[in-house]
Symmetry: C2
Subunit: 301 residues, 2 copies
């Protein structure tokens, strides 16, 4: 049996959140349903943030209500504070993902809190969950491979954060290259170092293709033993710090690379491409994911 | 000292040959000069083919004459037959690169000859060179990772071609993913197998980013011990078999990935980006190379 790589589909959240066009909650529900029909098993569906600040993510409760529980699917909600956690619990989300910024400058500008303050929130959420139950819990360390304000982020700082998070009652720890600055050699080094301190926690990786290194970084991560990767259908999203840049690595591209090499992902690639074309049609943009633009291989003569 | 990775700049040939807009020989000369000022040490400058068939490459003699010999630079001309070799000799090219198609279907459609017939041409050119002298000689095996007509190309076939080429008096053997179908695991396997039969010949890799796997494949190749990679400034080029696809891997992207990881390439990245913007301005297109679109890291706040 070949190795299974789990892809967390982040198009409906990290993707759409960084698009100029805002989809309605009903459109987002259809997007999620199409993704799940194409094979998505874990999907970032909503963000429990203030809709006045992130209008693209308004209507989280409406989206959750429209998605009946499905034992074969996991829907993930983004959580930045205890109020977000309460919403994740009350909507019946399967998973909550807390984001902690690996640099203070990014944390203060994006979430109004330093890294230490965000770690305290994470600990409080994990404690509440341990006491009262609730969705599965993961943490994503953003800007783990570089910060648009501070520049290099010391790997030792990220390793310390992972060590600290691994002591909390949570399920998974993700390292995110939020601005697409990483190179695959650095990814391998950081994954190996984090693996050594992450105890029994699963590691996940989140790459942006801003500088075209996203799939190289994914390859390096898989080779370093990581089995869970984020990707965004159509390559949706972008980078607020690089206006002409592309977004998350495209799910089609990641599925293509992995399945061509013999890994299993559970995705139906033609259905995924159709979904990318459909959602990019709604957004009025050309898919940035290369496989959707170029087509599959082998190609018809 | 960090490891030096040699990048062969193919924008002026493989890049421009696949662009809709045709540049004049004078514009191509300026492009080459700008590339060399930005650090290019080996550059595909011309193609000795019939200008009626490939108008983008017309004026090879004019381009060569405008580039005075420079001991620190090597200019490469594409050669498909003995007439092309004679032109490479008479223009004083530093290197000639013979292309041999790894699949018969691609060979017949693109060069009017089967793989075996092209190998015979290669042997004849290598023999002439051994007898009479001339430019350094390399061979590129195109569609080595997949053919748009035949689909999969058996790695055993490519390995046999490399073994056969390694017996000839030539300097370097390149494997080309002409249609951008390769995955990095496959690259690693094929490089390792070819290394075992390539004797003292240097290996070079040529990737297209058609399905976004180009830099992952480059990373895999470097990790497998290859020190020479082709790339195209601005990500120029395209894929005649996938009209909406991108072209060769962008030199900026490759330089960014390698230098971020501590390798040396000899390139001045800001100058390279300026060159990409300049040539894409001439072509009336947006650069497809991501680094030129997104900008360098660390970015200004």
């Amino acid at each position: 049996m070949s190795r299974f790589i789990e892809i967390v589909e982040v198009g409906p959240r990290d993707g759409l959140q960084n698009e100029k066009t805002t989809l309605t909650p009903a459109q987002r529900v259809e997007f999620i349903q199409r993704l799940e029909a194409a094979g998505a098993r874990r999907t970032e569906t909503v963000s429990f943030v203030n809709p006045a600040r992130v209008p693209q993510m308004a209507g989280a409760e409406e989206v959750c209500a429209a998605l009946p529980a499905d034992a074969a699917r996991s829907r993930i909600g983004l959580v930045l504070n205890m109020r977000g956690w309460d919403r994740a619990v009350s909507t019946g989300c399967d998973e909550a993902n807390v984001v902690v910024c690996a640099s203070d400058a990014f944390g203060v500008r994006n979430q109004g809190a330093t890294t230490a303050e965000q770690m305290a929130t994470l600990a409080a959420v994990a404690g509440r969950r341990a006491a009262e139950g609730g969705p599965r819990l993961s943490v994503t360390f953003s800007v783990a491979f570089g910060c648009p304000f501070e520049g290099e982020v010391d790997p030792a700082r990220v390793i310390d954060l992972v060590r600290e998070a691994a002591l909390l009652p949570l399920d998974e720890i993700a390292l995110a290259d939020t601005i697409g600055a990483a190179d695959p050699w650095g990814v391998r080094r950081l994954v190996e170092a984090c693996r050594a301190v992450a105890q029994d926690k699963r590691l996940r990786l989140h790459f942006h293709d801003t500088r075209n290194t996203g799939l190289a970084n994914a390859f390096a991560g898989v080779e370093a033993g990581v089995d869970v990767l984020d990707a965004s259908c159509g390559g949706l999203g972008g980078c607020p710090f690089a206006p002409n840049a592309t977004g998350n690595i495209g799910t089609e591209d990641l599925v293509y690379m992995l399945e061509r090499a013999g890994f299993e992902t559970g995705y139906d690639l033609p259905a995924l491409i159709s979904t990318a074309e459909w959602v990019c049609g709604l957004l009025g943009k050309t898919p940035t994911a290369s496989v959707t633009r170029a087509g599959l291989f082998p190609m018809p003569a």
